[in-house]
Symmetry: C2
Subunit: 347 residues, 2 copies
């Protein structure tokens, strides 16, 4: 049985570095010349044969150089890689992006996605925050728009605002609506969405019998839980960055990947696949989804009060700049968590 020794590690690291840069199979000669291990190509070749036996590298065909296997990348990430530091300008950019504090949580997440994509040059995927608890109603307001239309506005304590137009009878005035708003607020304000059960609703019905005609529509908005959740929403930024990866210059591969990215359900599975707190790197076949078998996903969770409420991630080819991407994702998750912590008070 072959064992990894120090030189093998160096050779593997060299192969991976070179391949990440060039996307071309790496030969023994290249390594000997570019990476000064102080040994001849022949020695490198022996080491390479061992590394291949270990399953860490592969040959596309005889007389081609070697290419890292998924397992090789895995070994690299786990044992060899030295995380790259952020450049001052990168740090600066991140800092500036989070400066504006009076943000809605959703916007924060979107901005994170944009940053991830911009810094890594890959595609970023971020998942909107899942409520650690169910959102509670802060305020309800009805506004008359035209004689027959009114706007229902619901403010949640998470800082999100929802609105919908409803039809109302011709003779309803803004005064009526104010009256209804008042009652709704008295009854519902502070309650979380799950606790708005039929009992309370029928109570309201009773009290507002004369407005029955439009209460149905108004309450429908309240009941529509899904409408309040950004939980399932996944934001993609920089999808077209994959066009810069030579491995996707093949239209068929491109189609497969892009059609995957259109399906939010699958994205969701990919993003939370085997998710545990902190940073996760899933390389090639480690992904459960077939369509990204030659991609790597670097994801991290973000949380509030130790409860995971969402994920951010970067999707790229297995030939990914691991040292850079991992640092960035990790750092962004930390910054995001810190920012969320500061915003926590009003959630």
């Amino acid at each position: 049985m072959v064992k990894m020794d120090d030189r093998k590690k160096k050779v593997l690291a060299a192969i991976i570095h070179d391949y990440i840069q060039t996307a071309e199979p790496v030969g023994s000669r290249t390594i000997s010349r570019k990476y000064k291990l102080g040994v001849s190509p022949a020695t490198i070749r022996n080491e390479m044969a061992d590394l291949e036996e270990l399953g860490l590298i592969e040959q596309p065909h005889t007389s081609a150089g070697r290419v890292p296997s998924d397992l090789g990348y895995r070994y690299y990430v786990d044992h060899l890689m030295e995380p790259e530091k952020l450049t001052p300008s990168e740090e600066e950019l991140i800092k500036r992006s989070y400066e504006d504090k009076s943000q809605e949580i959703g916007k924060l997440i979107v901005r994170t996605g944009q940053l991830l994509s911009r810094l890594t040059n890959y595609t970023s995927m971020v998942m909107g925050p899942k409520r650690g608890r169910v959102a509670a109603i802060k305020h309800i307001q009805l506004v008359s728009m035209t004689p027959t239309k009114a706007m229902v506005i619901v403010v949640l304590d998470t800082g999100s605002v929802h609105h919908q137009l409803i039809d109302v009878a011709e003779n309803i005035t803004q005064a009526d609506l104010d009256q209804v708003s008042k009652i709704l607020n008295a009854k519902l304000s502070g309650l979380n969405m799950k606790r708005i059960k039929m009992t309370i609703l029928s109570e309201i019905y009773l009290e507002l019998a004369k407005y029955k005609s439009f209460m149905d529509a108004a309450l429908e908005l309240l009941q529509d839980h899904r409408g309040y959740d950004t939980e399932d929403k996944i934001y993609l930024v920089g999808v077209y960055n994959i066009l810069n990866q030579p491995e996707f210059h093949n239209i068929e591969k491109l189609k497969t990947l892009l059609s995957l990215l259109e399906q939010e359900k699958l994205l969701h599975e990919i993003l939370v696949d085997k998710q545990s707190e902190g940073l996760t790197v899933r390389i090639g076949v480690e992904n459960s989804c077939d369509q990204i078998k030659d991609c790597t996903m670097v994801t991290a969770t973000y949380q509030i009060d130790d409860q995971i409420i969402g994920s951010i991630g970067v999707l790229g080819p297995t030939r990914m700049e691991y040292a850079k991407v991992i640092t960035i994702v990790d750092h962004m998750a930390k910054v995001l968590n810190k920012t969320l912590e500061e915003m926590k008070r009003w959630r």
Copy 2:
């Protein structure tokens, strides 16, 4: 000088039909066999030579068949094409999509984009409604979120709702906020955004001197005109449909096009380029933008009270199914206009 006669028209139409279907240059033999004009390939060849002289068709190289030129498509669209009727299932689909009446105008536009893309299998571009007039304030509401944060909500008479979190002093209560809301509503309700000038603002400042601390932030939201406009926002649907077009199996072309589609400003120019009321077809070089010189755009405007407030359109290769696409875009614009007319009352 060669003149178009009936048979030339038939030959041109045949070439275009065949090319739209196959994306391959069309030969004289194919036309004679498939399109039963009752003449031999040799005759067709003579006609083709004439059509080429007229600039309506081109030869990629000697010994290849003919391909329609932009001019050829133009002639086809102007003189030869018979608009294709919508199938019952298509009509049904469109009808169902617009059934839900109590819609916000923005959602209506997005839905239109989705339909366009789905029905045509090309990329759709729709532009959000430009206000015929400046939006007016319908209602302002301040809601206390935490001891130090409040939500400003502004409802416009166009049916859009805007909100933003602001910082407030620790000792401000919801009652205070209600008081401020009341005054703001009294002063500003019904005014359009342009008319909120310094005079009115300073009046408010005077009256609400004791809340001065946070009025700045609240009024900033009111002043931020751009925030209220969806005018410049362009929705793209079905971008990946272009992958199905053989003309874009070339990565470089694809990159050029996709990078164009990422630039909203350019999109805006493309969509309203030489825009006049009604349906417009811009074929290949007729587009002012270089990057879509081998694309065709079919656009239509939508209006309220004879004022153009936006555009919808489809982007595809010049080898486009004109008869189908033109019918669909035209029909969708009409349906959209009709729906907007019905919604008009509350705008």
